[in-house]
Amino acid sequence: MPEVTIDWYVALGVILFTIGAIGVLVRRNAIVIFMSIELMLNAANLVFVAFARHLGNLDGQVFVFFVTTVAAAEAAVGLALIVTIFRTKASINVDAINSMRG
């Protein structure tokens, strides 16, 4: 049976990150775009933890805390922005937010 190495975790992280990036590009719903960003941050966290395990070093796990904090702050501010935009535009379609188009 093959042994699970760091490569497998990095591959999984790359795939999850790419799915998140595709989600940001494809979806028009602002909330789902924010969820895709959370997925990308989570993929980075997975690679952090995998390398912490691989190198026998705890620093990677500490960085996951900081990434989680930034993700929480980003989600809170982002969702507040969505609520504010919904009040003025009555839509969360990102294509509707084109007031500054030249």
């Binding site: 049976m1 093959p2 042994e3 699970v4 190495t5 760091i6 490569d7 497998w8 975790y9 990095v10 591959a11 999984l12 790359v14 795939i15 999850l16 790419t18 799915i19 990036a21 595709i22 590009l25 979806r27 028009r28 909330i31 789902v32 969820m35 895709s36 959370e38 997925l39 989570n42 997975l46 933890v49 995998a50 912490a52 395990r53 691989h54 190198l55 026998g56 070093n57 705890l58 620093d59 796990q61 500490v62 805390f65 989680t68 904090t69 930034v70 993700a71 929480a72 702050a73 989600a75 809170a76 969702l79 507040a80 922005l81 969505i82 609520v83 504010t84 919904f86 969360i92 294509d95």
Partner: protein
């Protein structure tokens, strides 16, 4: 670093749930798929000898952040049919092409140069107390900075969402 069969099952379900999140038409379904994905990644953290991170993943990510998402979805009634926004096929095609290219480039770079020689270190002590000492000694300044970040984001959210120009009395 874990049982191959366990990893394969978890990885397949994680990729499947991530795809379900992106492809769901309904924002509530997207949120539920993402919670499932976060839970699976939490199991991978346990496999990777990071039990405390796994707990943080479940409570903060799958718990707090996703509840915030679901709350905003309900607040905006974004699961109503009128809010289901169609994607544009040109965007989808371009995004899939770019995504495939991204996986290919990252995979090529990784397989070409960065393949590590050693199979992995011995499991180390990852008890919360060890992590706490590292966080409060080596990383105490970044820790304080994240405290400021959270305070600023909290003030920002209040400033953004409070309704001005109306008397609430």
């Amino acid at each position: 670093m874990g049982n191959p069969i366990l990893f394969a099952v978890l990885a397949l379900f994680a990729i499947g749930s991530a795809l379900g999140m992106v492809l769901s038409r309904n924002a509530v379904h997207s949120a539920l798929w993402l919670i499932f994905n976060f839970s699976l990644v939490a199991v991978l953290y346990v496999v990777l000898n990071a039990p405390f991170i796994a707990m943080v993943q479940v409570t903060v990510y799958a718990g707090a952040i996703m509840v915030l998402f679901l709350f905003v979805i309900m607040l905006l009634a974004a699961d109503m049919p009128r809010a289901i926004i169609p994607t544009r096929s040109a965007h989808t095609l371009l995004a899939v092409v770019l995504g495939t290219a991204m996986v290919a480039i990252l995979g090529y770079v990784f397989l070409r140069g960065a393949a590590p020689a050693v199979g992995g270190a011995d499991p180390i002590d990852t008890a919360p107390i060890t992590l706490g000492f590292l966080l409060f000694e080596t990383y105490v300044l970044p820790f304080q900075v994240t405290a400021v970040l959270l305070l600023v984001s909290m003030i920002g959210v209040v400033v953004l969402t409070v309704r001005r120009g109306k008397s609430n009395a």
